[in-house]
């Protein structure tokens, strides 16, 4: 029996923060077909795929008792652990790189990595309720901040630099791009692992659909902002969303908004890393908080290694291994769960 419970709105807020963070950080560093019109279709296809892969969980969750069966599946937990650990390392390395390059260029990377890895443990130890409340508290500021940056970037944009093929697309490339985007999102795993903490299971599918539509609009808005700001030069920009915020200059009032972006992004990443820690502990089914010492040790060591070896990290994060394991988890896990539950029901009969 789980004592810490969260509401469905808190679940979707957590997912949305994951989306904002992964999209705002990952966007420039992956092989999205960002330079062409395929990106628009990719976002839409990705949203449809997200909905499809989430649906089995929703069906399982509507029959609450089967959720516990998924939690007891050791093989699934092991795969989820590996997957979440990979995502956590990638998120923290990207965070360190961006922080090191933009916020504290003259500071040792240790001062960036160690505080966030240690302090997020405190939030994880406090439990999912605390993380959810934190997400709920932060989300208005995050949405407001991101919206301000997006809107101002549209006002500030030079539309003459828009690429010619901005509205041309091919289905094959778009599908591939959608898969790649999907592989960078860990929403499905987070959704699955947080379902048992939900208080209410009413209309969770409908709620996810609404969330997906909002997220899709958000993704398109972010891409649009990048398009109108950088045009075809987007591929050469290291941190596009950060650069958008930095480039905004409308009268003397709206300028240098990167501080807003950085503040929100650091707080958002804090929530995401704390959440990942918490979910990792759950997949290991360990009750003692001592496991966090091991998790943070591994995270700090690997983050430091990859931060100092940027080329290795670039190769690793975009490797076929990471892509494959992500796709397998995202597509296979829900259907494996369905099959497992179906078999259990048959055995009972």
């Amino acid at each position: 029996m789980i004592n810490n419970k969260i509401s469905s709105i808190q679940l979707f807020i957590i997912l949305f923060i994951c989306r904002i963070i992964s999209f705002a950080i990952n966007m420039p560093q992956n092989k999205y077909p960002i330079y062409s019109g395929n990106i628009w279709l990719s976002v839409v296809i990705k949203s449809i795929l997200s909905f499809i892969v989430i649906m089995p969980y929703v069906i399982i969750f509507s029959k609450q008792k089967y959720i516990d069966n998924i939690q007891k599946n050791n093989a699934l937990n092991f795969i989820l652990f590996i997957y979440l650990m990979l995502k956590l390392i990638i998120t923290s390395v990207q965070f360190s790189n961006l922080a090191g390059d933009t916020v504290l260029p003259r500071m040792s990377i240790l001062f960036i990595i160690i505080p966030i890895c240690i302090f997020t443990l405190y939030a994880s130890i406090k439990g999912i309720e605390t993380i959810a409340r934190m997400a709920q508290f932060l989300i208005p500021f995050m949405i407001f901040g991101v919206l301000i940056i997006i809107i101002l970037s549209y006002i500030n944009a030079d539309y003459s630099t828009l690429p010619d093929d901005a509205m041309k697309f091919t289905f094959k490339e778009s599908f591939f791009g959608a898969c790649y985007m999907l592989s960078n999102n860990y929403e499905a795993a987070v959704f699955l692992l947080l379902l048992p903490y939900l208080k209410d299971n009413k209309k969770i599918g409908i709620k996810y659909l609404k969330f997906n539509i909002v997220s899709c609009i958000f993704d398109i808005s972010v891409i649009g902002a990048m398009f109108v700001t950088f045009g075809k030069y987007i591929v050469n920009v290291s941190y596009p969303f950060f650069s958008i915020a930095r480039n905004i200059k409308i009268t003397k009032f709206f300028e240098r908004l990167e501080s807003i972006y950085l503040a929100l992004w650091i707080l958002g990443t804090f929530v995401v890393i704390a959440l990942m820690y918490y979910l990792l502990k759950n997949t290991l089914k360990v009750k003692s908080n001592k496991i966090y010492i091991f998790l943070s040790g591994v995270l700090i060591a690997l983050t430091l290694y990859f931060t100092f070896s940027k080329s290795i990290f670039a190769a690793f994060s975009q490797s076929l291994f990471v892509f494959s394991i992500s796709i397998i988890i995202i597509f296979a896990a829900p259907f494996l769960s369905m099959i497992q539950i179906h078999e259990r029901r048959n055995n009972k009969k």
Binding site: P115, K126, E129, V271
Partner: protein
């Protein structure tokens, strides 16, 4: 390490729980007293004299009424001599009762002209209540005594609270006498649903406390929990409500308070009307109340007395003041030290010019200025009022001005510290917590710039989100978010739209906690 500490605390609280009534458990005022009054008056007097041996303020006045020995027992300074002579001794000596037996009942009903008496068969109740200002009348041959409510000790008159001044609203503040404070509350809520329950806590001080709540509005589980926590207090002496505050907090080690405090009866009544539970302690000119949530630091009783739009505006000003008092010095240190590119060139020039002449780093300058300011403030509070004001002027004008002209401090830093100090007095409920966090933010900004500030903010938020006050999330109604409650939080809507939302038990967080149970 933390688990070890946690286990120690748990063992300690278990030990306390198991100590039972023999160790001096705090009891309801009307619960059982055990030692009966002896029929022999001399035995009773001896018993009391033995207990109060060497207590020079114990006064025993023996009288003989038509052959029956009696004694009026009280403590010096607790009663008015004239009143006791006129209401007790004179009526007794002049009573027309030659052929009647002088029983306690007879004297209570036919002789004494006192509004409030307690007829008790217990000598320990007499001992306890004479220390609270009652006088006792013991009669030879009677197994019961009379407690006479003749308290007339000197106390401060009701005056305006110094710490919670309002431009519009009542000018009454709580005083040190519990009974008067209870009257101030009762006068404002003339309804039978207002319950004022008395308890005594403190094994030696036997301090009276009053629990005030509205039955039917307050959550009875919370009322029960408050009583339970108060009964489990194992202190010998309670001289101020601050002694019991930690026992009402869910988290002892948090820097943020989860118990509210007010010196104004109208504020306490407002809180009680929202379903909160007020606790008044004898000898304390303020009342505490629970549950207390973080957003309440932005509220003031005056918000409800003036037009709603101004009430709303004042809340937003308080929110801004909190942010300024928390972040301004740290942001200045971070921007000027690490992120100069984010500052507009004119401001950057000003900072460079002023800091070029000062010998200290900005972070050291900020810390030093704040420490000096806090010392001046502390000295100003402790010193007699006229000297305190002079001290403030000396501190602000002489030291500040001299430090700048000599070149020890930069002008921008003096302005920032002054602005921060002013803003910190807007949200006084969490002054100490804000002060502590401000120092932490300055240090973090000095080490890691904006990154340090944001990481510390995240840590502070985690702490705030994990706190609860009687199982209600501390950040409620922001997290968990409750839209209906925003009518009296981010905005203060006019009363016709407000009245239905004013109940703390209806907050989203409170509902969630109930659901979980």
């Amino acid at each position: 390490m933390f688990n070890h500490l946690k286990n120690k605390i748990k063992r300690f609280s278990d030990l306390n729980m198991n100590m039972g009534i023999n160790s001096g458990e705090n009891v309801d005022i009307h619960s059982i007293y055990t030692i009966p009054i002896d029929k022999n008056l001399e035995h009773n007097i001896e018993n009391i004299q033995n207990d109060f041996k060497d207590c020079s303020d114990l006064i025993i006045r023996r009288i003989n009424v038509h052959g029956t020995n009696m004694a009026v027992i009280s403590f010096a300074g607790f009663y008015d001599k004239e009143v006791i002579s006129l209401s007790v001794i004179n009526p007794l000596l002049n009573a027309d009762c030659k052929n009647k037996k002088l029983t306690t009942d007879f004297i209570e009903k036919n002789v004494l002209s006192i509004a409030e008496t307690i007829n008790t068969p217990y000598i320990d109740q007499i001992k306890t209540l004479i220390m609270s200002g009652f006088s006792a009348l013991l009669i030879d041959g009677e197994s019961s005594g009379l407690l006479l409510a003749l308290q007339a000790f000197a106390y401060r008159s009701i005056s305006e609270s110094d710490n919670e001044v309002v431009l519009r609203g009542p000018r009454e503040g709580f005083i040190e006498v519990l009974q008067m404070n209870m009257t101030l509350v009762r006068r404002r809520i003339k309804d039978s649903s207002l319950k004022l329950e008395m308890m005594q806590i403190g094994r030696k001080s036997r301090t009276f406390i009053c629990i005030a709540y509205l039955s039917g509005v307050a959550d009875m589980k919370t009322v029960k929990e408050v009583k339970k926590r108060l009964k489990n207090i194992r202190l010998d002496f309670i001289f101020e409500s601050g002694y019991i505050e930690p026992y009402l907090e869910d988290n002892l080690f948090s820097i943020f308070p989860t118990v509210g405090i007010t010196e104004r009866p109208d504020t306490l009544c407002g809180k009680i009307s929202e379903g909160r539970i007020g606790i008044m302690v004898d000898g304390t000119p303020s009342a505490i109340y629970v549950p207390y949530l973080f957003p309440e630091v932005f509220e003031n009783s005056e918000d409800y007395y003036q037009r709603s739009i101004f009430g709303t505006m004042l809340r937003w000003i308080r929110i801004a003041a909190l942010f300024i008092s928390l972040y301004l010095p740290a942001l200045y240190v971070a921007l000027a030290t690490f992120h100069q590119e984010s500052l507009p060139p004119p401001i950057l020039n000003l900072i460079i010019t002023s800091s070029a002449n000062t010998p200290f780093s900005l972070v050291f300058e900020a810390l030093l200025m704040h420490i000096i300011y806090e010392i001046i403030r502390e000295a100003g509070i402790r010193l007699p009022r006229p000297v305190g004001q002079a001290m403030g002027i000396v501190g602000a004008l002489v030291i500040g001005e001299s430090a700048v002209s000599v070149g020890l401090m930069g002008v921008p830093m003096v302005i920032i510290v002054a602005l921060t100090a002013i803003c910190s007095f807007v949200v006084t409920d969490i002054y100490e917590a804000v002060l502590f966090m401000r120092f932490m933010f300055i240090i973090a900004a000095g080490i890691c710039g904006l990154y340090g500030i944001m990481i510390l903010t995240a840590l502070m938020l985690t702490s705030l989100c994990s706190l609860t006050s009687f199982n209600i999330p501390y950040l409620s109604p922001f997290a968990p978010f409750d839209l209906k409650s925003q009518r009296d939080m981010l905005v203060r809507v006019p009363w016709p739209f407000l009245k239905k939302t004013r109940n703390i038990s209806n907050l989203a967080g409170a509902r969630n906690e109930k659901d979980n149970k």
